[in-house]
C-alpha cells in the first residue's frame, strides 16, 4: 500500500493538464499568503513543542520516581486520552472556552468580566498542547526510566547543586527522549487543520488549512498548487528532523 502511496504522489504538473511547469512552486514562495501560513504553522509548532516539553518533563520525572506499581497505572492514565477521538477532545475545549462555558462562569462568579476565549489563537495553542502532550510524556518517560538516579547523588557529592546536576547530568542523558518527543509533537502540529479550524474559528490561515482548502474547498480546487505545497511541507519537515538529530549527535560527542 505504501508503495502505491509513494508512486501516487503527484508532481508539480497539473492534474488536468499534464504539462511541465514550475509555476506552482514560484507561487508558493512568492505569495505572502502561503509564506505567512507556513511560517505561522512552524512557529506554532515550535511553541507547542516547547510548552509540551516544559510541562511534560516534570510530569515524566514524577511518574518515573513513583513505585513500580503506581508507575504503570499513572502512565496508563496518560495513554487513555491519547487513544480517544481527537475531534471529540478538541470539541470539549470549545465547550469549556465558550462564551457561557465553564471558565467564563467561574470568572463571573468571582466578579470578573467575561472574556472572549474562543475562537482565538490562544485557544488553538491550548487545544494543540492538550492533544500532543501524551506524545511528549511517553518518550520522556522511556528515557528517564533508563536514567540511573544515583548519578545525581554522585554529582551532588562532587559539589554540584541540584540545578547544576540537573542541567549537566540528567538533561543531557535524557536527550534522546527529548528529541523523540519533540519530533512526535512537532510533525502533527505543523500539519494540523482541525484544531485551528474549530478553536481558531478559521480566521487565520495555517498550512494545514490552506492544504485542505486547495484540495477540497476552493472553487475550483487547485490540486497542482496543493501538491507542491505538500511536497515543500514534507521537505521542510525532513530538514527539521535531520537538523534535530544532527545537533543532538554533536552535543553528545
Amino acid at each position: 500500500m505504501v508503495v502505491l502511496y509513494s508512486f501516487a504522489t503527484p508532481g508539480p504538473t497539473g492534474r488536468v493538464e499534464w504539462t511541465f511547469t514550475l509555476d506552482n512552486y514560484i507561487r508558493l514562495f512568492g505569495e505572502t499568503l502561503y509564506v505567512n501560513a507556513s511560517l505561522r504553522s512552524i512557529w506554532v509548532g515550535l511553541l507547542t513543542t516547547l510548552i509540551c516539553l516544559i510541562i511534560g518533563y516534570p510530569l515524566a520525572l514524577f511518574i518515573v520516581r513513583q513505585p513500580a506499581r503506581w508507575r504503570a497505572a499513572l502512565l496508563f492514565l496518560i495513554l487513555i486520552p491519547f487513544w480517544t477521538n481527537f475531534l471529540v477532545r478538541t470539541y470539549a475545549w470549545m465547550i469549556i472556552l465558550s462564551n457561557n462555558g465553564v471558565i467564563n462562569t467561574m470568572l463571573q462568579s468571582i466578579g470578573l468580566p467575561r472574556q472572549i476565549l474562543y475562537p482565538s489563537e490562544g485557544a488553538v495553542l491550548i487545544g494543540l498542547i492538550y492533544g500532543e502532550l501524551p506524545f511528549m510524556v511517553l518518550p520522556l518517560y522511556a528515557a528517564l526510566d533508563r536514567f540511573d538516579f544515583t548519578l545525581m547523588e554522585a554529582a551532588s557529592d562532587l559539589g554540584a547543586n541540584r540545578w547544576r546536576a540537573f542541567l549537566r547530568v540528567m538533561l543531557p542523558l535524557s536527550l534522546p527522549g527529548i528529541v523523540a518527543g519533540s519530533v512526535l509533537v512537532f510533525i502533527p502540529t505543523v500539519g494540523q487543520f482541525v484544531v485551528s479550524d474549530l478553536l481558531g474559528g478559521a480566521k487565520v490561515d495555517y498550512l494545514g488549512n490552506l492544504l485542505q482548502r486547495l484540495f477540497t474547498r476552493s472553487n475550483p480546487p487547485n490540486w497542482p498548487l496543493g501538491s507542491a505545497m505538500a511536497i515543500v511541507f514534507m521537505a521542510i519537515l525532513t530538514i527539521v528532523i535531520l537538523l534535530y538529530y544532527r545537533t543532538t549527535l554533536e552535543e553528545r560527542r
Binding site: 502511496y5 486520552p81 475531534l87 470539541y91 465547550i95 501524551p134 544515583t150 485542505q212
Partner: protein, 284 residues
C-alpha cells in the same frame, strides 16, 4: 505499544533531591497535569446530561439528548457506515499485517529494510500528507480506469475502506511484531519433528501463541479506524456520510448537546477498547 511495566532489577529508585519542597512541587505539577488531561473529558460527559440547550452550562439533569441522538437517522446512518468501514478494514488489515509481521520477523530478504521503512512511513508522516497522497492516488487511478473502460468509479465507502486498510496495516504490524519477539522458534521445529506439516504447525502452534498479539493489533487498528477523521474526510465521496465527518460539520456550526451525547458514547467506546487491548496484551 509502550511497555507499561518494565521494571529493571537492581536499578536504584533513589529520589532526586533531599528537599521535600521539590518533590511536593513535582507532585502538585503532576496533579495539575492530570486535571488538565481529564477535565475536558469530564466536562464533556457531564454536559451531555445537562438541560441547557446550548450544552455548555449545568442547568439540570436530562437524558433527552441521548434520545434525540438515537432518533437522528442521519447520525445513526453515519455511525453504521463508520462501524462497517472499521470492521472491514480491521479484518483485512489484520490479515495482511499479520502475514507481513511474520515474514519480516522470520526471513531475511532483499529490500527488507526498505519495506520496513515504507511500513513505518504512515505512522511518521503527518496524517494530512497521507490523506492527500491517497486522494491523489484515487483521482489518478480513476482517471486511468475511465480512459480504459469509459466509466469512472466514484469516491465513497470503497475508497474510505481502502484508505483505512492502507494506514492501519502499519499499526497492526508493529503490535504483532512485538508479540513475535518473544516467540520460541524451537516449538515450531518440535512440531515439525513430530510430523506436523507447515499448515498444521501454524494452525496449532504458532497461531494460538501469537493470537493475543494479533487481537491486540486488531483492536488498535479498529480504534484508530473508528476515530480517524482526516483520512476519512479526504477520501470520502459526496452523499456518503461517516460519523467523524458528520460531527465535524455539525461542530463547526455550533455546540449542540446532541453532539455532547454522541462524543460521550464515542469516548466510552474508545476507552473500553483500550482497556480490552491492554488486558489482552498483558495476559500473554
Amino acid at each position: 505499544m509502550i511497555e507499561l511495566s518494565q521494571t529493571q532489577p537492581g536499578r536504584a529508585v533513589a529520589p532526586v533531591g533531599r528537599s521535600n519542597a521539590g518533590s511536593a512541587l513535582l507532585g502538585f505539577h503532576s496533579l495539575l497535569m492530570y486535571l488538565f488531561l481529564y477535565a475536558p473529558i469530564v466536562v464533556l460527559v457531564v454536559f451531555s446530561f445537562t438541560t441547557d440547550s446550548f450544552g455548555v452550562r449545568w442547568t439540570g439533569f436530562t437524558l433527552q439528548w441521548y434520545e434525540r441522538l438515537f432518533a437522528d437517522n442521519r447520525l445513526m446512518g453515519a455511525a453504521m457506515n463508520t462501524l462497517t468501514v472499521a470492521l472491514i478494514s480491521t479484518l483485512v488489515a489484520t490479515t495482511i499485517g499479520t502475514m507481513l509481521a511474520l515474514a519480516m520477523e522470520r526471513y531475511r530478504f532483499r529490500m527488507r529494510g526498505g519495506l520496513e521503512a515504507l511500513l513505518y512511513l504512515p505512522i511518521v508522516i503527518p496524517e494530512i500528507v497521507m490523506a492527500l497522497a491517497l486522494l491523489a492516488f484515487f483521482a489518478f487511478s480513476f482517471g486511468i480506469i475511465d480512459a480504459l473502460t469509459g466509466s469512472r468509479p466514484t469516491m465513497g465507502l470503497g475508497t474510505v475502506i481502502i484508505s483505512h486498510i492502507a494506514f492501519t496495516i502499519s499499526f497492526v504490524v508493529v503490535v504483532v511484531r512485538t508479540s513475535l519477539k518473544g516467540f520460541d522458534m524451537r516449538l515450531e521445529e518440535a512440531a515439525q519433528d513430530l510430523g506436523a506439516n507447515e499448515w498444521n504447525t501454524f494452525r496449532h502452534i504458532t497461531l494460538p501463541l501469537i493470537l493475543p498479539g494479533i487481537i491486540g493489533g486488531a483492536l488498535l487498528g479498529f480504534t484508530i479506524s473508528l476515530d480517524d477523521f482526516i483520512i476519512t474526510f479526504f477520501t470520502t465521496g459526496p452523499g456518503v456520510s461517516l460519523l467523524p465527518v458528520e460531527v465535524y460539520g455539525q461542530v463547526k456550526r455550533a455546540i449542540t448537546p446532541k453532539i455532547n451525547a454522541l462524543s460521550t458514547i464515542m469516548l466510552l467506546l474508545s476507552i473500553s477498547l483500550v482497556f480490552l487491548s491492554q488486558f489482552l496484551q498483558r495476559r500473554r
